[in-house]
Each structure stands twice: as C-alpha cells, then as structure tokens.
Symmetry: C2
Subunit: 134 residues, 2 copies
DNA sequence: AGCATAGATTACGTTAACGTAAACTGGAAC
DNA sequence: GTTCCAGTTTACGTTAACGTAATCTATGCT
C-alpha cells in the first residue's frame, strides 16, 4: 500500500495544471460537474475531481456544453443500474458518435483546403522572391 | 453560353435549402459575411452568396466564430495582393490547422471511448436478457 | 379594392460560460 | 499584532449568435 494514493489538490494547483481560472473551476462545481470536499470553507479536490476536470475540458474542446457533460457524468455513474437507463445511455452515445463523425469529416475537408491554400501561397511567394534578382 | 449561369435566390430559398432561419441569414449579412444585391428593398442572392453561406455554416460546424469566418473571407479575397498579407494568411491557416488537428485527436479519443462503452452496455444487456428464460 | 404572403426594419430578450469587482475569512510569516 | 496570501461569497457585467415580437411594405391574386 503506497501512502500517496489519496493525494488531494488545491484549487489553484488544478487551475495551474490545466490552465483555467479558479473562477471557472468554481463555476463547474456550481454546475454540478465537480464535488470537492471542504476543509473548513476551503475546497479540497480529490483525484476523482481532477479526472472530472480533465474530462470536462476535453468535452468542451469537442464542443459539448457543460450541461451535456454533466448528463454524461450522471449517466455514467448510473450506468450499472437498470436497462432503460442503459438503453438511453447507448442512444446518447450513438447520437454523439454520429455528430462527431460528421464533425471529423468537416475538419478533414477544411484541413485539406488549408493545405492547398498554404501550398499556393508559398508557391506565389517563392516566385516573387526569385523573380527580381536585382 | 448557357442562360442560367447567373441564377439568383430569395432569402427563403436559401433558408430552406440550408435549414436556417431568414433571421440568421440577415444576421450573417449584418456581420459582413454576405453581400446580397437589392431589388427595391428585397435581398437578392447570387451564387457567390450561396457559396459563402455554405462556407459559413461549415465554418460554424468546425467551431469557428462568425468573426473568424469573416476574417478568412477577407484574407482570401485580398490574398492575391502583397506579401505581408500572404504571410499573415499562411500564419492564420497554420494556427487553425494546429487547432483542428488537436480537435481531431480529441474526437478520435472520445469516439474510441464511446465505442467501448457501447460494447460494454450491449454486453450487459445481452447477459440479462439471456439470464431469465421464464 | 381587398387580402394574403413574403420580405424588411427595429428593437428588446435570451442563453452559455465565464469575467470582474468588492468585500470578507483564516492561517502564515515577520 | 499586522500584513500577506490564497481562498471564499455575492453579485453584476459581458459576448456571441441568434430568437421573438411588432410594425411596415410591396406585390400578386381574386
């Protein structure tokens, strides 16, 4: 049994590590995404909270709203329950899968366009710099 | 010369085709993304406007703000100008490329997780349905 | 002429996700 | 003791991207 398994974190530690403001972290709590303990009035974050913060930020990066992220947390927590819950869970996952796949295709399109545009630009610039040798 | 090359569109035609409200289309105009002609007071959209609307919506899907989309339009229009403009253009493209690549990786991660979760759920549900044969 | 319909203009409302400021607390360091 | 410092609460402000009326206009149809 290693002794550091229950490491905890202060709010500013997490803020630094993930490059968000403490305000944002408290806001996520107010939205039900984090549930830190208290030591007096100070918030004290567990490993679990840290993971949830990570997942929250990743969720945001892929365009989920805080509400959706929270729903996923709740469904995930309750997922070992009854079958209707499970079915709903799978439904949501499928829909999101659908959207994300679409999103990836869009991104790939745009990336290709960007590549072409960049090549074109660099082409032009080369020609210009080579075209007037004093 | 075919005669229909200069087809134009009404606002509600575009609204229908792309499944957005007319309000949104007028809003995009007010933000400088579209520049329809006028026939009296009615807006009359060209092929070019239609393409820009398409690009606007695609930009939104991949998480660009209307302002960013407008900047890209402007840069694209001015791209055949001088070299500093071109350099700036390539810069912006590179940054966006960077972000989009990151975003794609995030999405791929989540898609993998979703796949696993779905498999797990279906696994559970199978076991249950098979476990109680009356 | 009268009416319906599509479109225009103006303006206020809304939601999400925090930012920002003010005022307070509790322990640590000097 | 007092001065920092990190943290807390409360509350109002902000931005983006439209939604939602309300009111007005132009036009084609009957």
């Amino acid at each position: 049994m290693t002794a550091a398994a229950d490491r905890t974190f202060s709010i500013s530690e997490l803020a630094q590590e993930f490059d968000v403001t403490t305000r944002a972290i408290r806001f996520y709590e107010s939205e039900g995404l984090l549930t830190p303990e208290r030591q007096g009035q100070r918030r004290i974050y567990s490993r679990r909270d840290r993971v949830r913060l990570m997942l929250t930020l990743r969720g945001k990066r892929i365009g989920l709203s805080l509400l959706e992220i929270r729903e996923l947390f709740e469904l995930y927590d309750a997922a070992s329950n009854d079958e209707p819950q499970l079915t709903k869970f799978v439904d949501i996952l499928s829909r999101r899968e659908q959207q994300l796949t679409q999103q990836m295709q869009d991104i790939q399109l745009v990336l290709r366009e960007i590549g072409q545009l960049k090549a074109q630009c660099e082409n032009w610039m080369e020609k210009r710099s080579g075209g007037l040798p004093e």
